[in-house]
């Protein structure tokens, strides 16, 4: 574990020494803020309209969680598809290209520790990325102290869901990065794969029966919804964790296999 932490520390050192992490943070927050402001505007309009029609039961039903954050978490999940490939692309590909992987192979650490270390660093970057968006619920909380306010429990469950989704994406990205020497190829393939896990859900509407069940289950972003509603569905947790496990296992095999090629 100590060795894995040493690798993770080195990865974080490089993440923050190069512009890539900062660029991705900025991108995530800029696009996230755009969606947040749009949703906030829609909420404002809805509440104005209900007030004009003087319908208190509609007003009671309007809450931040359903009107803003549920949709916002869905959107942030989609933005992760665009951000994660650029965060994972260099993890293994660059070590191969620069031949620094020879250093790792010749020191007393195992491939498992290399993979763990790199994944831990990726998760740390993911936490940083998501933490930046805590600004949105904090802002709503600040302004809406007298109203029903923000349901923090649901918010944190939503973040837990986003974290699991991001962790699954990172595991896939790490694996794809371990297959190539080229960062560009790694980023491109990761992006296509992540995009596929999202758009496969669109075809669910056109199918029925078991096919529909399967297609819906495969779609990554759809598993986020139960979290942003403020509930935890074991089915979704299993989905995310199994993708993480699969990605890490495959990366471990790929790193090990690289020496035999």
């Amino acid at each position: 574990m100590k060795n894995a932490f040493a690798i993770a520390k080195k990865e974080l050192n490089i993440y923050f020494a190069t512009p890539i992490a900062y660029v991705m943070f900025t991108l995530f927050v800029v696009i996230g803020s755009y969606f947040f402001l749009r949703l906030l505007g829609a909420y404002e309009q809805a509440s104005l309209m209900y007030m004009r029609f003087n319908s208190p039961e509609m007003m009671n039903r309007l809450n931040f969680q359903d009107a803003i954050f549920r949709a916002l978490f869905g959107n942030l999940g989609v933005i992760l598809i665009f951000v994660v490939p650029f965060l994972t692309m260099r993890l293994v590909a660059e070590e191969k290209k620069q031949k620094t992987i020879e250093l790792l192979y010749s020191t007393p650490i195992t491939p498992g520790q290399i993979v763990w270390g790199k994944y831990l660093a990726a998760l740390a970057i993911l936490v940083c990325t998501l933490a930046l968006t805590l600004l949105y619920p904090a802002l709503v909380h600040l302004v809406a102290r007298d109203a029903q306010g923000v349901e923090w429990r649901s918010i944190f469950l939503g973040y837990a869901g986003l974290f699991l989704l991001g962790a699954a994406y990172m595991a896939l990205g790490l694996f794809i990065s371990s297959l190539t020497e080229s960062q560009v190829v790694a980023a491109l393939i990761t992006f296509v794969v992540l995009l596929m896990t999202w758009i496969i859900g669109w075809s669910a509407a056109e199918t029925e029966g078991p096919t529909r069940e399967i297609v819906t289950y495969l779609s990554s972003v759809s598993h986020l919804d139960s979290f942003s509603k403020g509930t935890v569905d074991l089915k979704d947790v299993v989905y995310f964790l199994s993708i993480c496990a699969l990605g890490l296992f495959a990366t471990h095999r790929a790193v090990e296999a690289h020496r035999w090629s």
Binding site: I14, A17, Q98, T100, E102, P108
Partner: protein, 248 residues
């Protein structure tokens, strides 16, 4: 200290290393010679556990590289052909990282980094980012990395490449000063280097060992024919021996 027996490595149908055997005693410096593509780097990669061999075995301090790789890697410092440096890190951060994965304890790490930086003359640019260093400076950082943790065995793949003449002399002296305490295998293209620092030379060509002996014995074996008054012929230089053996 290092026992290599019947080592072979093939890449598909290319035989890079073919039935190579040699031993290096504790404290010895072995010069590893051969034309480009002879299999020097491949052999060194196998010695350090980076590559698995196709057949044959390598033992370092009694541990088999293939069976107990971690035990072997704890005892080896390796400088590959291209210094394995992370160009986005500073020299100090890089050396700290390598020290930590080599198992140097947290307390001793800072002292160890300073020690190897001093030995390899890296101290004046230790705070700089490696990407901004010259080739010779990077080579010295690579050498510093290999010395971290004071390993018993050093495997150095062309350690003086890219250095200026003054630095070459410094590095040679450094390597010479390490002999006795460390067992060193050193590959090079520069033949006088072997004459200057090594006791033994191993010459390989096309993956096969063509000569393996002490320098003195090599010279005797390849000396010119005895002259009429019973004197042995002129002693050949290592260059002559090398060219004679590798051209065949």
């Amino acid at each position: 200290m290092i026992e290599v027996s019947h080592l072979s490595k093939s890449y598909r149908d290319l035989k890079a290393v073919d039935d190579v055997s040699f031993q290096v005693q504790s404290g010895e410096i072995l010069g590893f010679l051969g034309p480009n593509g002879a299999g020097k780097t491949t052999t060194m990669r196998i010695l350090t556990g980076v590559l698995p061999p196709s057949s044959g075995s390598v033992k370092v301090s009694g541990f088999d590289v293939f069976e107990q790789p971690l035990e072997v890697k704890k005892r080896i410092g390796y400088l590959p052909e291209n210094p394995p440096v992370y160009t986005d890190m500073t020299v100090r951060a890089y050396l700290r990282f390598v020290a930590s994965i080599k198992g140097v304890s947290r307390k001793a790490r800072e002292g160890e980094v300073d020690r190897v930086a001093q030995k390899t003359n890296c101290t004046q640019f230790i705070q700089r980012v490696i990407g901004n260093l010259s080739k010779g400076q990077r080579q010295r950082v690579g050498l510093a990395q290999a010395l971290l943790g004071d390993p018993e065995v050093l495997i150095l793949d062309e350690p003086t490449v890219g250095l200026d003449p003054a630095q070459i002399i410094e590095v040679r002296q450094l390597i010479k000063s390490l002999a006795g305490k460390h067992t060193i295998v050193l590959s090079t293209h520069i033949l006088p280097e072997v004459t200057a620092i090594c006791q033994k030379a191993l010459i390989i060509a096309q993956g096969k060992v063509v000569a393996y002996d002490t320098l003195a014995n090599l010279q005797h074996a390849h000396a010119g024919a005895a002259t009429a008054d019973g004197q042995t012929g002129p002693m050949p230089s290592l260059e002559e021996i090398f060219l004679k053996l590798t051209s065949a």
